[in-house]
C-alpha cells in the first residue's frame, strides 16, 4: 500500500473509528437508560398478589334463590342474581367512584350511599351520577363439582344507551356466556 492510499479520507460508506465509538458509546448509554426505564416500570407491577383470590367458587346454582343474594357481598364484593332464565353475578362496585351500594328489596334497586347512584336488578342506571352500568363478572359451571366459578377480573362492560329510564343495556345481548349461566 502506498502512502497516498493511507492518507486518503475514508469513503463516505465506511465508518470512521471515531464515528463507530460514538455510536457504541451513545447507543450503549441509551440502551442502558432505556433498559433501566423498562425495568423500573415493570418493577412497579407486582407479579404475585397477596389478596383475596380473583377466581373463586361460590357453590351450586341451586344454593341461590330467585332475585338478589347478598350473602357474598362483604367477603367477595359480589351479588348473585338469579332470574327465571338463569344466573349472573354483579360486582358490588359503584361505577361512579367505587363505593359499595346497598340492595333495597322493597324498591328492587341498588342504591349507593355516597352520591346517590341508583341501579336496577340488571345493573342498569336508574338515577344518580353513575356513568356506566354495574359490571357483571364472568361465571362458569365447573364440570367436576357443579359449582359456579366466578372470575372477578373478567368483567362485562357493554356500552349503555341513554334512554328515558336511564343508562340501560338490553338484556338479551347481555345474558351471554361467560357472563351468564342458563337456568341450571
Amino acid at each position: 500500500m502506498s502512502s497516498e492510499d493511507k492518507n486518503k479520507p475514508n469513503k463516505s460508506s465506511e465508518m470512521s473509528r471515531r464515528k463507530f465509538f460514538n455510536l457504541i458509546g451513545w447507543g450503549g448509554l441509551l440502551a442502558s437508560v432505556g433498559g433501566s426505564a423498562v425495568g423500573t416500570y415493570k418493577f412497579m407491577f407486582p407479579t404475585v398478589l397477596y389478596e383475596p383470590p380473583t377466581v373463586f367458587k361460590i357453590g351450586k346454582a341451586a344454593d341461590f334463590g330467585m332475585g338478589v343474594d347478598e350473602r357474598l357481598k362483604k367477603e367477595r364484593q359480589i351479588w348473585v342474581v338469579k332470574n327465571d332464565r338463569g344466573l349472573y353475578v354483579l360486582i358490588a362496585i359503584c361505577r361512579h367512584l367505587g363505593c359499595t351500594p346497598n340492595w333495597f328489596p322493597d324498591q328492587q334497586r341498588f342504591r349507593c350511599p355516597c352520591h346517590g347512584s341508583i341501579y336496577d336488578i340488571y345493573g342498569n342506571v336508574r338515577g344518580g351520577p353513575a356513568p356506566r352500568t354495574l359490571w357483571r363478572a364472568a361465571v362458569s359451571i365447573d364440570a367436576a363439582d357443579n359449582q359456579i366459578s366466578v372470575n372477578f377480573l373478567n368483567r362485562q362492560d357493554p356500552d349503555p344507551e341513554s334512554t328515558a329510564e336511564g343508562l340501560t343495556v338490553e338484556e338479551p345481548p347481555r345474558e351471554t356466556a361467560p357472563y351468564f349461566v342458563k337456568s341450571a
Binding site: 407486582p46 398478589l49 367505587g98 363505593c99
Partner: protein
C-alpha cells in the same frame, strides 16, 4: 473589663474552629453581608439583594415562606410519627390510636402533622392566588409558575397519600374513590377513554400500579407509606430547590 472581653472575643473569632464554621466577618460591610448570604445554606436560598418594596408584608404576606415553613414542620413531625407508626393493615389503626392516647406528646405531633398538612394546602392555594393577582407569574418568572404548579400537585399528592395511613373507613374510601379516578384516566386506565383499546385490564392499569393490587389492601398501604414518607417529599425537595433558585435569579417581585 471591656478590654478583657474584647480580647477573649478576638481569641475565639480567630480560632480555626470558628473560622471553619463562619467564613465571614460581622455583616457591617457590603462584602460581609454578601458573604453571609453566600456561605449560609439557608440564607443562600434568598437573593443577595431584595427590593425593599418586596418585603412589604402586605404585598406577599410571606405566603410562599409560610408554605415552606409548613413543609419543614411536616418533615419534622412526620419523622416523629414514624417512630411509632407501622404500615401494616393489622396494626396501623392501633398505632394511630396509641399516638393519640398513649404516647407522650403523640397527639400533639399527630395534630401538628394533620393541621400542618391542611394549612400547607391552604397556603399553597393562597400563595398562588397572590402570585396570580399580582401578575408575578409573568416573564421572567413564567418557568417558576410551572414549577409552582408541579409543587401544588405534589402537595396534593402528599396529602392524599397521607390520607390512607390511619387505615380507617375515611382513609379506605377516600383512596377507593381517588384510585377510581386514576382508573378513569384516558389510555392508561381500565375504564377511561381508550383504556380498553390500549389493552388495559383491572390487573395491569395505572390504578393497579398505584395500589399494588386490584383492591385497596396491604400493598396499597405500603406503597402509599413509602410515597408519603420518602418518594414525594424527595421529589418536592428537588422542585423546591429549583423554585427557590429561580426566585434567587429573578428576585422577588414587587409593586411597580
Amino acid at each position: 473589663m471591656a478590654d478583657w472581653m474584647e480580647n477573649l472575643k478576638n481569641k475565639i473569632v480567630e480560632t480555626q474552629v470558628w473560622k471553619s464554621i463562619f467564613r465571614h466577618g460581622y455583616p457591617d460591610t457590603d462584602t460581609n453581608r454578601a458573604l453571609v448570604m453566600f456561605s449560609n445554606v439557608l440564607l443562600h436560598l434568598h437573593p443577595v439583594k431584595v427590593r425593599k418594596s418586596a418585603l412589604r408584608i402586605r404585598y406577599t404576606w410571606c405566603l410562599g415562606g409560610l408554605t415552606f415553613f409548613m413543609f419543614i414542620l411536616l418533615t419534622i413531625t412526620g419523622v416523629f410519627l414514624m417512630f411509632y407508626y407501622v404500615p401494616d393493615t393489622r396494626s396501623a389503626y392501633q398505632n394511630i390510636k396509641d399516638l393519640q392516647y398513649a404516647i407522650y406528646f403523640g397527639n400533639l405531633m399527630r395534630d401538628l402533622h394533620r393541621w400542618g398538612a391542611h394549612a400547607m394546602v391552604f397556603l399553597v392555594w393562597l400563595h398562588m392566588t397572590r402570585v396570580f393577582l399580582t401578575s408575578s407569574y409573568k416573564p421572567p418568572r413564567e418557568f417558576n409558575w410551572v414549577v409552582g404548579v408541579l409543587l401544588l400537585v405534589l402537595t396534593l399528592l402528599l396529602s392524599w397519600t397521607g390520607y390512607l395511613l390511619p387505615w380507617d373507613q375515611l382513609a379506605l374510601w377516600a383512596v377507593t374513590v381517588g384510585s377510581k379516578m386514576a382508573e378513569a384516566s384516558p389510555l392508561i386506565g381500565y375504564s377511561g377513554p381508550f383504556g380498553r383499546e390500549m389493552g388495559m385490564r383491572v390487573d395491569n392499569d395505572i390504578r393497579f400500579m398505584l395500589l399494588g393490587g386490584t383492591v385497596v389492601g396491604q400493598s396499597t398501604l405500603l406503597r402509599f407509606y413509602v410515597l408519603h414518607c420518602v418518594g414525594l417529599p424527595l421529589l418536592a425537595t428537588v422542585f423546591l430547590a429549583v423554585h427557590f433558585w429561580r426566585i434567587r435569579k429573578d428576585g422577588f417581585s414587587g409593586p411597580l
